[in-house]
Structures are given as structure tokens and as C-alpha cells.
């Protein structure tokens, strides 16, 4: 943009763009997920699995054509923000994101999914106390902001699980924790799933890592060799269980397994699992200091 905007105009521009971006994420899956679903459907010979995949592709075409949320559970919006210390709207960003969810809820429309706790009423606005969820990282010497937008559904990635194992249980314990989740919760969490595994020092670090793992593209690998090995072993192992689409049996179970790890206390191994459903509505947008944007997850799409 060439024209210099004042602060109010900047806020308005970013709110409008983020509102449109949230809408986009509701009706169009990211490229990596679309491609993987096609690949998985081609490997199915089970007639029931084939009918389910056919329904999925018809649904995604209709959603894009009609610009309607492809799944009725448009989730609680979660934003994973990596903000440059010099990004001009760093102080305004939380309000901008909250307002953009409200605006997108009216315009798309999205479902009203915010219930105030204890008072137990639906706000009817899809925003509330601490909702949407916004998670921050600050980047030095940068004037950009990277925003992952994620629609976390009530039947897939809001009910994650985390625990802290004893070192004696080792990474074998991590494997058991992940596999047990697949045949209990995973069956009903809308397979084929993208599995986010977090390893860290406590429940909250592991949980955060497991969510960050779901922001990584399908098919990407952890930089650590052992962690990458575990990703492959788990992916092959969970596929061998044969959950199939909707947990009704099939050749495969998952789109992939992504592990994100951080250091641990000598006495603990924190582990968390998050199950991303097949309708993995994740988008990444990057704004520069002029509020020009690039959408990395959805090629060829403009807002």
C-alpha cells in the first residue's frame, strides 16, 4: 500500500482482512490437507470408506461454491501469533483479532460457540471472556506478523489430553499414550486425523507443543532425528490400526503425525496429544508493516 494510513484506518483495514481470512478458513481447507485427503481416498478399496470420501469432496466443493462453513462446528477460534517487535499494531492486535471474529461471525456466518462459564449463557456473538484464544510469540528485529488461524472444534481438538510421565516410562510411555488415544477418542474425532504430539516438561508445555504441531504442514518433519523417527513410526503404526474415514474402518487412519518438542526436567516427561479432524481448518497469513499480506496455506486465494 502506498497511501499512509492513520492508526484508526490501519486497525479497520486489518480487522476487515482478518475477518475475511477467518471466513476463508471456514469454507476452504489448506492446500496440504486437500492434497493429502485426495491421496488417502485413492488408497481406499472399502466401499463404505469410498462413499464417505466422496461425500467429503462434494461437501468441500459446495462449501467453496456457496461460501459457507464446510463444517457446522466452526469451533473456538485460536490464533497463534508470531509478532515482530516493530509491527505497528502490536498493542492493538488482540482487539483486532477479537473484533475480526465477531465480524466474521456476522458475515460468514459462523456458529455462536462461546458460552460464558459459571453464568452459563451463550453470548450469541462467538466472542467472550478470553475467547478467541490468542497465543503469542515475539520476534526480535522484525516488523511483520505471522498469524495462524485455527478453528478448533468441540469434537476434535478442544478435548486434547496431556499427562506427565516418569522418565522410567520413557518414550515407550509416550507411544502408549498416543496409541491409546487413537482407539478411544480418535475413532470419534473425525479421522483421517492429523495428530499433534507435544513433548515437554509439564502438562501446559506439552499441550502447547501439541497444538503447535498441528500448525505444521502435513508431511513436514521434526528437525530432530529421533523425533522425526517417532513421527514416522507413529504414523505407520496408527495407519496399521486402520481406523478409516469416520472410524468406520479403512486402509489408513491419519494424514500424519507431527511432533513438537521442548526441553524437560530430569524427573518428568510431559506429553500431550491433540487430534485434528479431517476438516483441518488452519490458515496462515503474514502481514508486513504496510498491512500488505501473503496467505501461505491457500495458494492463489485473495481476500
Amino acid at each position: 500500500m502506498n497511501i499512509t494510513l492513520n492508526r484508526t484506518q490501519q486497525k479497520e483495514r486489518m480487522t476487515n482482512l482478518m475477518s475475511k481470512f477467518v471466513s476463508l478458513v471456514s469454507y476452504k481447507l489448506p492446500d496440504d490437507v486437500e492434497n493429502k485427503l485426495k491421496e488417502l481416498s485413492e488408497e481406499e478399496s472399502n466401499p463404505l470408506a469410498k462413499i464417505i470420501y466422496e461425500t467429503m469432496f462434494k461437501n468441500q466443493d459446495l462449501a467453496f461454491e456457496l461460501k459457507r462453513p464446510s463444517c457446522q462446528d466452526t469451533g473456538v477460534l485460536q490464533f497463534f501469533v508470531k509478532c515482530g517487535e516493530n509491527f505497528p499494531l502490536i498493542g492493538q492486535l488482540e482487539k483486532i483479532l477479537k473484533n475480526s471474529v465477531y465480524k466474521s461471525t456476522q458475515e460468514t456466518p459462523l456458529r455462536h460457540n462461546t458460552v460464558e462459564t459459571f453464568d452459563e449463557y451463550n453470548t450469541g456473538e462467538n466472542i467472550g471472556d478470553g475467547s478467541p484464544s490468542i497465543f503469542w510469540e515475539i520476534e526480535e528485529d522484525s516488523d511483520k506478523v505471522e498469524i495462524y488461524t485455527y478453528m478448533a472444534g468441540g469434537g476434535c481438538t478442544l478435548p486434547g489430553v496431556a499427562t506427565v510421565l516418569m522418565p522410567g516410562e520413557g518414550y515407550e510411555g509416550v507411544v502408549k499414550f498416543v496409541l491409546d488415544r487413537m482407539t478411544s477418542y480418535g475413532v470419534n474425532a473425525c479421522p483421517p486425523l492429523l495428530i499433534g504430539v507435544g513433548v515437554g516438561t509439564s502438562v501446559e508445555t506439552a499441550a502447547m507443543n501439541s497444538k503447535k504441531a498441528l500448525m505444521r504442514p502435513v508431511g513436514s518433519q521434526n528437525e530432530n532425528q529421533n523425533a522425526a523417527k517417532m513421527e514416522t513410526l507413529l504414523e505407520d503404526g496408527i495407519n496399521a490400526i486402520g481406523l478409516g474415514p469416520q472410524g468406520l474402518k479403512g486402509a489408513k487412519s491419519v494424514m500424519g503425525v507431527n511432533v513438537v518438542n521442548t526441553a524437560r526436567h530430569p524427573s518428568t516427561i510431559g506429553v500431550a496429544v491433540n487430534t485434528g479432524c479431517w476438516s483441518h481448518r488452519r490458515g496462515k497469513i503474514v502481514f508486513d508493516s504496510n498491512l500488505d499480506y501473503v496467505i501461505e496455506t491457500h495458494e492463489g486465494v485473495t481476500l
Binding site: 461425500t55 456458529r111 455462536h112 460457540n113 502408549k176
Partner: protein, 203 residues
């Protein structure tokens, strides 16, 4: 294979030969009914404002657009996790006479018993396909309990060949998900044995 379409009101006879794993379609009336509606009827003994005898319920919370004057349009509608209603479903079937319960994922022993005793089915609509499902809804006939908010209200929908609906529990109480789970768990144990040998990173 011809398309098996059930039309409401549904009788015990209509469901007699339908088995787990079969695919059917529904024409007629289906009412969205989920967590709080189940709780109100069973725990709080508040009668439902809709007669469900011979009809279908949908564990679903839709996105609805209001056109004013009590006119509504379904934008997206899809199933939510049925297991959350497991605690209430047997009594729910008994009290309402509902014949089809449509949702996502499997249900448990209570629902098996309810389906067997009162001749009902639990069916799965492939979840996440909410626009596809919305195109099968011809109109919203009524809405009740709007105080519960958009997802939890009882939306009375007229549908045509709504599906594919996969039979997860049949009228003999057979349970497709439970049957599959036995196999899944067996394979999981095999995989654990294989993988755990290769992740001994703590030496």
C-alpha cells in the same frame, strides 16, 4: 444396490431387516436435539415441545440464518459426538418413541439396549460435511427452546433423501463401532510392541 430410503413416520417393521454397516437415507422430519435438550427431558423432567414418535433426532448444532418473521435457513448442519448423549439416550428413546438417532461416532451399552427394546437405530452421518447436509434440508418447519442458543435449539427440519446414514446400532442391539474397536485394539497392541522397541532414546 438400490437406495434404501426411510420416510417418517417410521414403524418397527420398516427397521426389521436393517443391519449394522447398511447405508440408508431419510425423508421426512428430523429434529436437532443434543446435550441440554436431553438433560432437560431426562433429568429435569421437562416435556419436549415436539412429538418425536416415529421420527428422527439429529445430534447436531446447525448454523442458521434468520430471515425475520420466524423464517430461518440452514447454512450448515452436521453431526456432533453422539457419545455425549449416551447417559440419557435409553430413557430418551423410551419416553419419546423416536425411531432414528443420527449423530457422529459410536454409542454405548445404554443406547444398544434402548435400540433393542424399543426398535430404534443409531446412524452416523459422515461428520464435517455440513454444507452437503444443508442442501438436503428442504425447510425449517419450527424452532423450539431458542433460549438455549443457536447450537442447542430444537430445529425441526424437513429433509429429502438425507444421507448417507450408516447404521451403527441396529434393532437387535448390534454395535458396529464396538465390533470395530475390538479389532482396532488388537492391532494397536501389535503396533505398540513393534514401535516401543525402537524408541529407547533414554539410555
Amino acid at each position: 444396490m438400490s437406495k434404501k430410503v426411510l420416510t417418517t413416520p417410521i414403524t418397527d417393521m420398516d427397521l426389521k431387516d436393517i443391519k449394522i454397516g447398511d447405508i440408508i437415507y431419510l425423508s421426512g422430519t428430523i429434529v436437532t436435539c443434543r446435550d441440554v435438550a436431553h438433560r432437560r427431558l431426562i433429568e429435569d423432567k421437562i416435556p419436549l415441545p415436539v412429538d418425536l414418535r416415529g421420527k428422527a433426532i439429529f445430534h447436531a448444532g446447525p448454523i442458521v440464518r434468520s430471515h425475520g418473521n420466524e423464517k430461518f435457513e440452514i447454512i450448515s448442519i452436521g453431526p456432533t459426538t453422539s457419545m455425549r448423549m449416551e447417559k440419557f439416550e435409553k430413557e430418551f428413546i423410551e419416553q419419546t418413541g423416536v425411531k432414528l438417532i443420527v449423530g457422529k461416532g459410536g454409542m454405548g451399552k445404554n443406547t444398544e439396549e434402548g435400540c433393542k427394546t424399543h426398535k430404534a437405530l443409531h446412524l452416523v452421518f459422515p461428520a464435517g460435511n455440513a454444507v452437503f447436509a444443508a442442501t438436503k434440508v428442504e425447510e425449517i418447519k419450527e424452532v423450539h427452546w431458542k433460549d438455549l442458543g443457536m447450537p442447542e435449539s430444537l430445529w425441526v427440519c424437513k429433509v429429502k433423501e438425507f444421507g448417507p446414514l450408516i447404521v451403527s446400532i441396529d434393532t437387535e442391539g448390534n454395535n458396529l463401532y464396538e465390533k470395530n474397536k475390538v479389532e482396532f485394539n488388537k492391532r494397536k497392541e501389535e503396533q505398540y510392541e513393534l514401535i516401543s522397541k525402537q524408541v529407547k532414546f533414554i539410555k
